[in-house]
Amino acid sequence: MSLASIADNFFGLFNYWVVIVLMMIGFYTVISHDNLVKKLIGLNLFQTAVFVFYISMGKISGSTAPILMSGKGSEDVLYAHPLPHVLILTAIVVGVSTTALGLALVVRINEAYGSIEEDDVLEADFETQEEETEEEAERTARAEARQERESAQQDHDDGREEDEADDDRETRS
């Protein structure tokens, strides 16, 4: 492959290079950053890359804006394909809504946890979760113990309810 053809590939397809680089920067930001706002910024970059992809797709070199013109020679005007632009207008609206919703969630996460670092939030969650799991395990053990005791008791004797109450108090404390 000659140098010229490489250069041609690179510069001839430069819009795709822009799209790929922008997209990867955005994607990497989403994955690597803990800060939820930075994640949203990354997501925005990621989406913007796709917008650029669509918009550059509709461009024909040497073409003008796709506006209807009147007068002489207006039929011969070369204009860019307007449909991708219109499509991407819709996608931009979707992107704006996503960003607004994401930021609203971040604001509420900040109010609920006092942090917008994913690690801190997850840590707070894990702490409560661990407590809950421990509590659950304890309660399961207690319930099983009680059940065993009850079945043993049924074999044994029926008139010893005071003891059971005592046992319960012990297990609870």
Binding site: A65, I67, L89, V93, A100, L103, A104, V107, E111
Partner: protein, 150 residues
């Protein structure tokens, strides 16, 4: 920022042309570049500028959040309602041909109505988003305008 005379004066001068431009983009959207989305955002920018300079409370008094809720819903209803009207006239959903006595006028009316609905909703939604974010966590100190966070 109310104490900055220059900003206040410039804002007062600017807001009217911004709104006028928004209306131009809105109602010429069917013949020239523009339309509901763009006009809505420009219009909302005027309201947001007002809120930035004169404070959120003032802006809320001028354009109340409750009004925005209603106009936002109305805009969507105008859009869908246009479609339903063309449906009742015997066409398909959003078939503007059936809105008037002939197809050309019908297309014209349909485009105007639909874009108006879109514009109304976009103004309301963008401004509401701004109000909600700016008003969050500062319910008691409305004296400080939101742009002045530092």
């Amino acid at each position: 920022m109310r104490e900055h005379t220059v900003l206040r004066v410039v804002t007062k001068v600017l807001i009217a042309p911004i709104i006028l431009f928004a209306l131009y983009v809105q109602f010429h959207g069917d013949y020239s570049p523009g339309g509901g989305f763009q006009a809505g955002v420009v219009f909302a920018a005027a309201i947001i500028l007002y809120a930035l300079i004169f404070g959120l409370a003032e802006a809320r008094r001028a354009v109340s959040p409750n009004l925005l809720r209603i106009t936002g819903a109305l805009g969507a209803l105008i859009f869908a309602g246009t479609g339903v009207y063309s449906l009742l006239r015997g066409g398909n959903f959003l078939d503007y041909d059936y809105l008037a006595h002939d197809a050309v006028h019908g297309q014209h009316y349909g485009l105007l109505l639909v874009e108006f609905g879109v514009g109304l909703t976009v103004v309301s939604v963008i401004t509401s988003i701004f109000y909600v974010f700016a008003g969050r966590g500062r319910r008691n100190d409305d004296e400080q305008p939101p742009g002045d966070a530092r």
